[in-house]
Amino acid sequence: MRFFRSVGEIFGYSPFKPLVEHAILCGRAIGLLQKQFEAYKKLDFVAVERLRDEIDELESKADEIKQEIRTKVSKSLMLPVDRHDLLEFLKVQDDIINNCEHVGHMLTFKKMKIKESILAEFEVLLSKIMECANEYEAMIEHVQKLIETSFDKREVEKVIEHVEEVERLEHICDLIQIGLHTMLFNSEDSHPLEVHLMEAWVVHLGYIANAIARAADRFRLMIYGR
């Protein structure tokens, strides 16, 4: 089929579906983290390491998508949103899964028997982060609708509602983190090294929630910026 001249070339690479796929990978990584903590609770360290590898895999898949978008969204494409805003948003969204990878590794640094009460609080934090991620996914899935309606006001309003909900949930994550910190530094019977490591977990879990909120904010900016 060499003999034809095509008008189809006028349609360029669309980064929006890959963006959603990338976000879904982030959500799945958080799900795996939850499982990893469960395995940790059961002292099943084989599973902990296996889950770390699975998260690594998701992260590298997400990296591929990120690279694809970054290389294909060239200046000669006319997108309904600003190219810079889009790439900046992608960068922050990628931070979500990068931080998941960090935590996944941190769980394998040391095999410890952690107190029930502390682990329970970690589970609370994780499920809140998961809730936040689900809300984020609901937001990002509006992309298709936004494009279909070419950024109709009503559709934009729906997205903004999701962003606000993500921010509210992230704030709750912050509060749980504060509680966890207090709990950790007051568990006199725990070994200082263990406290130190767990504190790093809390901080990095916080980074995940933070990245979700910042990505949502970037998404909102991207829509407002058009």
Partner: protein, 337 residues
């Protein structure tokens, strides 16, 4: 002489076939891409309306290319036949090469360049004065090449913007799209008709002076020639165009019903206006302009503006190439025949 007539008819048919296979198919691919019509329906509608557009509305553009650029009445009828055959051969040759190289060239630019080449050759051989070439008409045609994609863009932008304001804001996007699925059948026909009316000239305009010479010494444009061109285009669509429709259509899923409607309506209106004014313009380039217009109205996820560069490049390339080809072929014919 008879052999020249046969060559002329043959090449003219080949160019018409090419227009049907490539350009008509491209214009219709939007309807296939948005799945408004099935492939079979598109081919049927396309072939029929291209034919009708060509035979009912193609005359003005044929007139422009046949006698609006070179004052053929001032030339010996033999030279006119040579010139027109040379123009057809050059255009046909360049279209074939460019298609092979995947250049987004326009058959319109090719034939206009080729006919102008014949005129310039006639000037250089002192059969015509340089001032006798209708430069103002050439200028008007070239202006229309720049204006038509812009007009397509402005119209498409306006139409899609209105759809956004009047419909998307009030109704669910999904149900709006469903209604436009049917409206797009209409615009698809509109495009095919407009395309036939404008592009048929690229294939058959040189035949008019060959077969249209009246006893009184001036040139008419026989309706049979328009019908012949329309038939060639229709056959092009049916025998090869369907593949192009399928290939292009699969790449343009970004064009939903409302977007397709806007782009097609804008393109067809622009092209049909040009046909009425006797201006030979490129339907494909107008369609590209229209798609950009929809994109500017925020309707398309990603528009590749590199194509614009390619099109401008092919503009610059096509005119001189077909012109020189035609000068060469014409001169050879005058010297040896």
């Amino acid at each position: 002489m008879e052999i020249l007539l046969i060559i002329a008819i043959f090449v003219s048919f080949y160019v018409a076939w090419n227009i049907g296979a490539n350009d008509a198919a491209n214009s219709m691919a939007t309807s296939y891409g948005s799945r408004a019509l099935s492939l079979r329906q598109i081919i049927l509608v396309c072939a029929l309306l291209e034919f009708l557009g060509a035979s009912l509305y193609g005359k003005n553009v044929v007139k422009t290319i046949a006698k609006g650029i070179v004052p053929i009445e001032a030339l010996d009828p033999h030279l006119v036949v040579y010139g027109m055959v040379a123009a057809l051969l050059s255009a046909g040759l360049w279209i074939t090469i460019a298609t092979y190289l995947h250049l987004p060239i326009s058959t319109t630019h090719s034939i206009v360049g080729a006919v102008l080449g014949f005129g310039i050759a006639a000037v250089s051989q002192r059969h015509l004065e340089i001032s006798m070439i209708k430069w103002s008409e050439v200028y008007r045609i070239m202006m229309s090449w720049a204006i038509s994609p812009i007009m397509g863009a402005v119209l498409a932008f306006t139409i899609f913007y209105m759809i956004r304001i009047l419909l998307f804001r009030r109704f669910d996007a999904g149900s709006v799209e469903r209604i436009f699925r049917y409206l797009q059948v209409f615009t698809a026909c509109y495009v095919a008709f407009a395309h036939g009316s404008n592009d048929v000239a690229n294939a058959v305009a040189p035949l008019a002076p060959i077969f249209g010479l009246t006893a009184k010494g001036y040139y008419e444009i026989p309706r049979e020639i328009l019908m012949f061109g329309g038939l060639g285009i229709a056959i092009g669509v049916a025998t090869w165009g369907y593949r192009v429709i399928r290939m292009v259509g699969e790449n343009i899923t970004q064009l939903t019903f409302t977007r397709g409607f806007s782009a097609e309506f804008a393109t067809a209106t622009t092209v049909l206006s040009a046909s009425a004014l006797g201006l030979p313009i490129s339907t494909t380039h107008t369609l590209v302009g229209s798609v950009i217009g929809v994109g500017l109205a925020g309707g398309i996820a990603s528009v590749n503006l590199k194509v614009v560069q390619k099109i401008i490049f092919s503009w610059i390339l096509t005119m001189p190439i077909t012109m020189f080809l035609s000068i060469g072929i014409y001169t050879v014919m005058v010297v040896f025949l």
